[in-house]
Structure formats: structure tokens, C-alpha cells
Symmetry: C2
Subunit: 166 residues, 2 copies
């Protein structure tokens, strides 16, 4: 159905070699992407799981455990282990829901916000350098390809993150 480009010219960028380079670029870039926060987390005996939790709680203060679960794509047992340590360490608070008392609304404490900021800053610094080096048009393309690469349900979460309701 509407195959589109027929000639060789338009398909040049879809050769196996081009695709392979893209795959390897994703692999190496993701390592760089996580390197700076990982160093900070290692000092504190935390891992990437803690980073992700703190990030998305910071993005959506008051989010429920269930919502966080589907965004992160892990099991509740796995998330619970992380949340427990964050709450014990005073970085996150868990409040019983006002309308539905079964739910728990999650918030960052001041200390939690401080860590989130520190991790964000490190990651943003690298992202900023990459953006600056590549230029605005490259950034637009970057975002387009990444969006097209997401699964549908992840895509949904990604867009839900856009309209922040603080």
C-alpha cells in the first residue's frame, strides 16, 4: 500500500550498513547518556532505577505507584524495592490518596529535589553539549527518529509527559 519511493536514490539511507551504524550509534550514545548520572549514583549507593524513579516523580508530583509502574515498565516488586529505600532515605514521601485512599501519591522532598536536580544537571550538560555541537536542525531530526523508534505505549507516555500539571 503506497510503497512510496521506488528508486535507489531515495532508499540509500536504508541500506543495512546505514542501519547498522544507527544501531551502534544508539548503543554507544546511550552509554554516554547514562555515564554522568551513573557516577553520581555510585557515590550514593543508588542505581539507575533510583534515578528513573526520582526523575518521573519530579516530573509528575503526586503521581501514583501504578502510574509510575506503567511509565517505567517494571514490576511493582522491582519498583517497590527502589521506592522503599528512597522513602527510608527521606528523598520521597508517600501520601495516602485523598479521593481514593488505596492510592499513594508520591512526592519528592527537598532533599529528593536536590538529588534530582544534581542528576538532571549532569545529564543536561551532556545533552546541551551534544545539541550545541549538532545544531538545531540535527536536534529536530534526532527527536523525530527517537519518537518513531518508540513502542506505541511508550510513545503515549512520552507525550503525556509533555503536558505537565504541577
Amino acid at each position: 500500500m503506497a510503497e512510496g519511493p521506488e528508486g535507489g536514490q531515495a532508499l540509500l539511507f536504508l541500506t543495512d550498513d546505514q542501519l547498522r551504524k544507527g544501531i551502534e550509534a544508539m548503543f554507544f550514545a546511550y552509554r554516554g547518556f547514562t555515564a554522568d548520572p551513573d557516577r553520581i549514583l555510585a557515590e550514593l549507593a543508588y542505581g539507575r532505577a533510583h534515578h528513573r524513579a526520582v526523575h518521573f516523580i519530579g516530573r509528575r508530583p503526586g503521581t501514583t505507584v501504578n502510574n509510575l509502574l506503567s511509565v517505567l515498565g517494571v514490576t511493582k516488586q522491582s519498583l517497590n524495592r527502589v521506592l522503599r529505600t528512597l522513602i527510608e532515605d527521606g528523598l520521597v514521601t508517600s501520601e495516602i490518596g485523598r479521593t481514593d485512599k488505596r492510592e499513594r501519591n508520591l512526592y519528592l522532598t527537598n532533599e529528593g529535589r536536590a538529588l534530582e536536580q544534581r542528576l538532571s544537571d549532569a545529564q543536561r550538560d551532556r545533552m546541551r553539549a551534544a545539541y550545541r555541537a549538532a545544531g538545531p536542525e540535527a536536534v529536530a531530526g534526532f527527536r523525530q527518529v527517537l519518537e518513531a523508534m518508540m513502542d506505541d505505549d511508550l510513545h503515549r507516555h512520552y507525550h503525556e509527559m509533555k503536558d505537565v500539571k504541577v
Copy 2:
């Protein structure tokens, strides 16, 4: 040197919000990026580490353990466990180095090549779809930003992978 853009317009894409979106896009996209191979690997009781090993051995037949180590960025002990199972399962062969008997040259067997192909195909399919949806210019930008995001040493490995010496 040559700082370039000074005004607000050219720096719009460097706002914290833009950077945050880029960060979340990387997070969600990487999940999609690994989803298809992960499904295949789960059937075979393998993990991503096996995928990475098989991929880079396939890229550089005869590579040594040490070289693979620095590309993958893990400890030799961690890699060894993965290599052992791959060798036991007949996907990889390890040959004692000809010039230096301390080294081991790694090769894929036919069975190993078959798995590599199967994983590659799955990952390439998604990459191809994303490339096709985003268009050639977006792809160029995508690659530019990813390259700028890598650590220097990873960047080196990335480029070394370009000149294949089969």
C-alpha cells in the same frame, strides 16, 4: 573559539525543557530499540550481554577478548561468563592466538551467525521503520546528535567499527 549564536532565537533549542524532552526521548526510545531483540533472547535464555557479544564478534571476526572488553566497557570477568555460555552452546569458537598464545581469537559459528542475523534483522526492522518515518534529513541529524553524545573513548570505538577488515 567562535562561540557562534548569541541571540535568543538560536538558543531556543537549548532550553531546559527542550533538553528534558530529549532526555526522556532517549529513555523511551532505547526501550523500544531493545524490545525486539529482548523478546528473541528471552526465548533462548540469553540476555542483552549475549546480544552485544554476538554482535561485535560478528562485526570483527577474530577479535580478541581484550578488544571486545574495551568496546563493551565491562570487566573481563563479566564478559567471560557470557562468552563461556556462547562457546558451550556452540555459537562462538575461541582459538588460541597464532602470534601471541595468550590471546583468544573469537569467531561466530554458523549457528552463531544465524542468531546474530535473527537479532540484527529484528532490530534493523524497527530502525528501518523509524528511518523511513522520519526521513533522510532527520536521520542525518539523529546520527549527528548521537555521535556528539558519546564519550571520547566510545567515539573512537564507534569509528573503528566503520573500517571493517574481514
